[in-house]
Amino acid sequence: MDSFLWGAATFLLAVASVCLYRAYRGPTVLDRVLAVNVIGTKTMVLLVLLAFVFDRPLYVDVALVYALLNFVTTVVATRYFETGALEGDWQ
């Protein structure tokens, strides 16, 4: 079972690195934020997976921090773009 979970974790890492391409290229800033948001969800799942593989239930707390703060960052960032508080046209 452990090696299956490691395999799943490695697969998620590979997928996350594909997302990174969109974060790097993404024509608009919002594409980048979206890509990083997706990577963040994967990271959160990976943190829970690691907690399982190491059999340390308390590691799940780290994932919970992520689940809360990933959302916070996205909301604050989009608010910055929305109100045009940032200089220049970001598109």
């Binding site: 921090v65 929305e82 045009g84």
Partner: protein, 235 residues
């Protein structure tokens, strides 16, 4: 020519470093100095000596209390520096672009208001459980700081001011160093040494650690909020 010189210089610096690295004990080897006596003592006796089950917390706040005292002062200094820099640049600053007033999405506003109390309670949990699980003052304080920031942006500055009241904010920003000072003084009164951890019984050490955790947490959160607000203030 210049490039060759640079390469030669880099090689000259890199060689001794690589040679030194080659002579170091292998990564993870038991002969490493860090593993011989210090780590063993931490692992074997940390839980009973330091007053915290989580050894990391014990090491950070107890065994290396002075170190952390300095770090906490650095954080406070950062806040002071940001305040000083932003206060100084009066004339030459470009006016902040007003931006078109875009109403906040009701969905975002609703969900943030729904989640805010849970984030607050979670921050408290992270601070309190620093002694048994990953977490502690720094982490909990940062979560709370993030809560203050999102409250400022989404719900409004008024509501955020409730989380970090105007009057005592200046003192709260210094809560980290101040709590160290207070706990250190208590330790000095009890044992004759600043902090004096090795000489106080475990129960008292545990409550001292808890006081430090809360000081660091509150201080960190207020510093983050302070930096964010100062950056966001209109010029």
């Amino acid at each position: 020519m210049k490039r060759a010189l640079v390469i030669a210089l880099l090689a000259a610096v890199a060689m001794p470093l690589l040679l030194a690295a080659a002579r170091m004990p292998r990564f993870g080897s038991v002969e490493q100095p860090a593993y011989t006596h210090v780590a063993r003592r931490y692992l074997e006796r940390g839980a009973e000596e330091a007053g915290a089950e989580n050894i990391v917390t014990g090491v950070i706040l107890n065994y290396r209390g002075f170190d952390t005292n300095g770090e906490v002062t650095v954080i406070f200094t950062a806040c002071a520096a940001v305040a000083a820099v932003l206060a100084c640049s009066g004339e030459g600053r470009r006016p902040v672009r007003a931006g078109t007033p875009v109403a906040l999405s009701p969905v975002v506003r609703y969900v943030v208001r729904l989640l805010a109390p849970f984030i607050a309670l979670f921050a408290f949990y992270v601070v309190v459980f620093g002694e048994v699980s990953p977490g502690g003052g720094f982490q909990g304080g940062t979560v709370f700081g993030a809560l203050i920031i999102v409250t400022t942006v989404v719900v409004g500055r008024d509501e955020a001011e409730r989380l970090s009241p105007e009057r005592p904010r200046l003192w709260l920003q210094a809560a980290g160093p101040l709590s160290f000072l207070a706990v250190g003084t208590v330790g000095a009164l009890l044992t004759g040494w600043y902090l004096g951890f090795p000489h106080v019984p475990r129960a008292i050490a545990a409550s001292m650690l808890m006081a430090l955790e809360f000081g660091i947490g509150v201080g960190g959160a207020m510093v983050l909020a302070g930096i964010f607000w100062r950056l966001g203030d209109e010029a």
